[in-house]
Symmetry: C2
Subunit: 125 residues, 2 copies
DNA sequence: TGATAATATATCAACATTACTATATTATAG
DNA sequence: CTATAATATAGTAATGTTGATATATTATCA
């Protein structure tokens, strides 16, 4: 028995604080919409409206997902009049996404049509 | 109204297949125990028992978390008699964790004692 | 001031994840 | 075969996440 009894739920008792932070960071990336957002923001800041149009999503959804990224310090928000412009806080996040892309590319290396889509993504910047 | 009505739940309707795969990958990393496992596996394959001892967790927990990583193709399992040895499928996952570490290092750059822990991690291999 | 535009947040139901326990599977040894 | 060891999985209750809707906040303009 290596852990406290009588517990339930989703977050471990032990497992260093640091890994918990890392896990929260990855969890913030763990959503298709947020990944799409980041892939756009890598190319430069965008207002909520611009993201909303690019993603074809309702406004509250966009704000909610941006809030997740904001709470993890992945993006930051600057008010510009009525609009709010979001930007990546660290360009390394872009590298992270690119590295993840390479991992998929390896993994799916001869699987389905997903490969061709990955390749296409790789060619454009 | 940019999306189908009458839906509920957790996965978006639109958002390309590819981003969904990427999200699943990140979700597999999004747990403190699994991160600790990967940080060990980066240094070489381990049996379930070895991981269990290193992490001080009950056996079913270890197997469950390994199953999550296995289902995403992040690790693979080889039977060796009674034991099962798990290994990283792609060394790039190690690079991904290291890149994530650098992002935290930037982010927490003058925050709490977490920073010193990150620095220490960075020094050893 | 009031009206409007852009964004944010609260609430809630559907669904997903998790730790725990008990049990199943698989392989080896006797 | 039976017993045992190592690992995997099923079931379940607690908790977390999400999309939709409604409403709140904030800034601009008339």
């Amino acid at each position: 028995m290596a852990r406290t009894r009588g517990r339930r739920g989703t977050e471990p008792v032990v497992a260093g604080e640091l890994q918990t932070f890392k896990a929260r960071f990855f969890r913030a990336l763990a959503h298709p919409t947020r990944i799409r957002m980041l892939e756009i923001l890598v190319r430069g800041g965008r207002t909520v409206q611009e993201l909303q149009e690019a993603l074809m999503l309702d406004q509250p959804i966009v704000s909610q997902q941006l809030a997740v990224l904001r709470n993890q310090g992945i993006v930051s928000a600057q008010k510009k009049g009525l609009a709010v412009r979001y930007t990546l806080r660290d360009p390394l996040v872009g590298e992270l996404l690119e590295l993840a892309r390479r991992i998929f590319s390896n993994h799916f290396d001869n699987t389905r049509g997903l490969l061709s889509e990955l390749r296409r993504e790789g060619r454009r910047g």
